[in-house]
Symmetry: none
Subunit: 403 residues, 2 copies
């Protein structure tokens, strides 16, 4: 099975482009071939009228109920940064920031600090606050993740991050059960200031006239729902090719082997061929290979119709090469995680097109892969969390219920 | 957003009319224009195979789960009569009736009493039974509503109304928690007889040889579920143009501004132009305007195919005038609350057609608005309670779940 998710590819008719969507305007023989040789439909990734985030969308595409599996972005970021998130852990997204002597934030991103955060993170990680173990990992630039592990933790706490310049906030428990967690967070923030303020990294920064990264501000607390790993849930070995940290985090969380592909950036400059080749190679050793291509979403957020058409055509070229070498028994799934219409410049609630070909897939009358053409296909209108079971069915790996 | 619900418009193929539905037989260029410029589908207003009532259907169309929001018709009738129904209140539909000296019902509708019920209602309302406040309001003819407010009330009680001639029934609690409510109902019924029997209204009726309206018979107990008002749920200001009391009651209950439109009767003689003009004016001051046109349902209940076609064409003329003045950014929703096939002369479980145009709506290949044409549209098959979220999405007012 090969699932290709073109991030934000789905769109709306554009007034200035003959009321076509970018998919309708693009030349995309490979995508059309998937549609023509398979079964097509539209998909509400979360539910009708719900705008999917990239995180909740991917959870749904992998077969999870996002309302049960998702509780804030912290755990996904932590997994993306390579920390193993266990049930009961509470995780936070964090910024390295600059505070003055009165603990007022003067720069929420510590001058978008570029280097030295690995050393700062190491100084914070591995400590204990009472019976709670503290793990900390740097991310890109000023970003990091905090993972707390210990008895009686609860993610229902407020942010210490004030989200703008001004006083560092005291984290508060939103329920009595979360008061211990809030105390640990506050103690961690105080400790981070004491430890980081005297770090050699910040001595150097001060010498260069740069704002010191002398505090950590946690936000977006969350913990994992009961998340059965995909390999156990479906009995398949899973690999992921994805450039974006958030998506990589989700893939790791659900038990996929997340591959490193040099040149696959998650941006407009990504190396499509390298991604395609990596996915093809992964099919030799894995039952299910997931691939996320981010660039459409970037073009959608930029509101650039022509760029989005170009990106679609680049993805199509990559797909053309892959399809050439693909055995017809491989089930190919082509879809998007959400719509990012160029007219909206953000995610929208519009359903996404989906095509499934190969393996035992039926073949309907749909000839083109776009939002409107697929809608009259034999797949009808499905929900995101029904996609994986459907794909497993087409691949003859679905379970029987009853006798 | 403008939602036009043509009550009972949806139908089945008619044997005597070339197996066409009234929608297929009617000339309706405006409805077809909405379909042609938008996205189309069919909708199970409640669920497949469930025959919607007008009350449950409208709750679903407004985005509520009717199985949670609906508990008997009493509260809706009370809201329709202008009483404010609060959480914890128990409301009943009532008849003014005639009983003899042995408390046997001799006329369940007190000779379909036409006048004087306002005076009778005033004599009953505002009293207290123990710690329970009694509110009573007359409706049309022999109808009225009873609203009880106080601690420890529960709607799970049986009717005092015997539903035919014979002994007035004792209301009984179906669960121990409802026994207090049953006692209050029984006390109210006894009190209503004592008060009404000696009323000057009934003295006059007796003098004219008319049956006295000397008792009130409550039935259909219900209380409100947790019903978040639409303006809070969706963050939009809502107005309603509707003639029928029941629909007006629901609109009031969900927090819409219910407009009074002279000439809008909710019958076959309704002033379509006045309704259309009122809805268009309401769009200047409201984000979401709902409009119910009842006449199709009346024609369906009468089993009159030709009349239903005529009514559809009248609605289409109204719609044509409205569309002329409508900005393309206004999202237009055209649908029905249920089917009332002329061959059935009652509501049926058949799904209803729905078209959404304007705003960010996609444009599919559907060219005509009827039960069969819309079914291959890009909206697919949706549930009634998914309609409002879908419309909010097309209007770019949907909420994001995740990041």
């Amino acid at each position: 099975m090969l699932m290709i998710v073109c991030d934000g590819m789905s769109d709306r008719p554009a007034k200035d482009f003959d009321r076509k969507t970018p998919l309708q305007a693009a030349r995309k023989p490979a995508m059309d071939a998937v549609a023509r040789h398979g079964v097509n439909g539209v998909m509400d990734v979360i539910a009708p009228g719900v705008v999917p985030g990239s995180d909740t969308a991917h959870l749904a595409l992998f077969g999870y109920d996002p309302y049960k599996a998702y509780s804030g972005r912290g755990p996904i970021e932590a997994a993306g940064a390579g920390l193993e998130v266990r049930k009961g852990d509470v995780a936070f997204r964090c910024n390295f920031a600059t505070v003055d002597k009165s603990m007022s934030v003067t720069d929420r991103r510590a001058g978008r600090i570029k280097s030295g955060t690995a050393e700062l993170a190491k100084a914070l990680s591995g400590r204990k606050i009472g019976d709670v173990q503290v793990m900390f990992k740097e991310g890109s630039e000023h970003r990091g993740v905090l993972l707390l592990r210990g008895p009686g933790l609860d993610p229902r706490v407020t942010d210490a991050d004030p989200h703008h310049e001004g006083k560092v906030l005291e984290s508060k428990g939103l329920v009595p059960e979360a008061e211990k967690t809030a105390r640990v967070v506050n103690e961690f923030v105080r400790m981070s200031h004491v430890v980081l303020d005297k770090s050699p990294v910040n001595k150097d920064r001060r010498a260069e006239g740069l704002p010191p990264a002398n505090i950590v501000l946690p936000r977006g607390a969350g913990s994992l729902g009961e998340l059965e790993p995909m390999p156990r849930m479906y009995g398949v070995k899973c690999a992921a090719v994805a450039g974006v940290t958030l998506v990589r985090g989700i893939c790791r969380m659900v038990g996929m082997d997340v591959l490193d592909v040099p040149g696959a950036t998650g941006g407009l400059d990504t190396d499509y061929k390298a991604k395609g080749d990596a996915a093809m190679r992964a099919l030799d050793s894995h039952d299910f290979v997931f691939m996320n291509v981010k660039a459409c979403d970037v073009a959608g957020h930029d509101g650039d119709f022509r760029l989005k058409v170009q990106v679609i055509e680049s993805i199509d070229s990559m797909l053309e090469g892959m399809l050439r070498d693909l055995h017809e028994d491989v089930v190919v799934v082509l879809t998007a995680d959400h719509s990012t219409p160029v007219s909206v410049r953000d995610h929208s609630a519009d359903p996404v097109p989906v095509a499934i070909s190969g393996g035992g897939a039926r073949i309907d009358h749909v000839k083109e892969f776009d939002e409107m053409s697929v809608a009259s296909g034999a797949l009808g209108r499905i929900r995101g969390k029904d996609l994986m079971p459907t794909v497993m069915g087409v691949a003859d790996r679905a379970k029987k219920f009853g006798a």
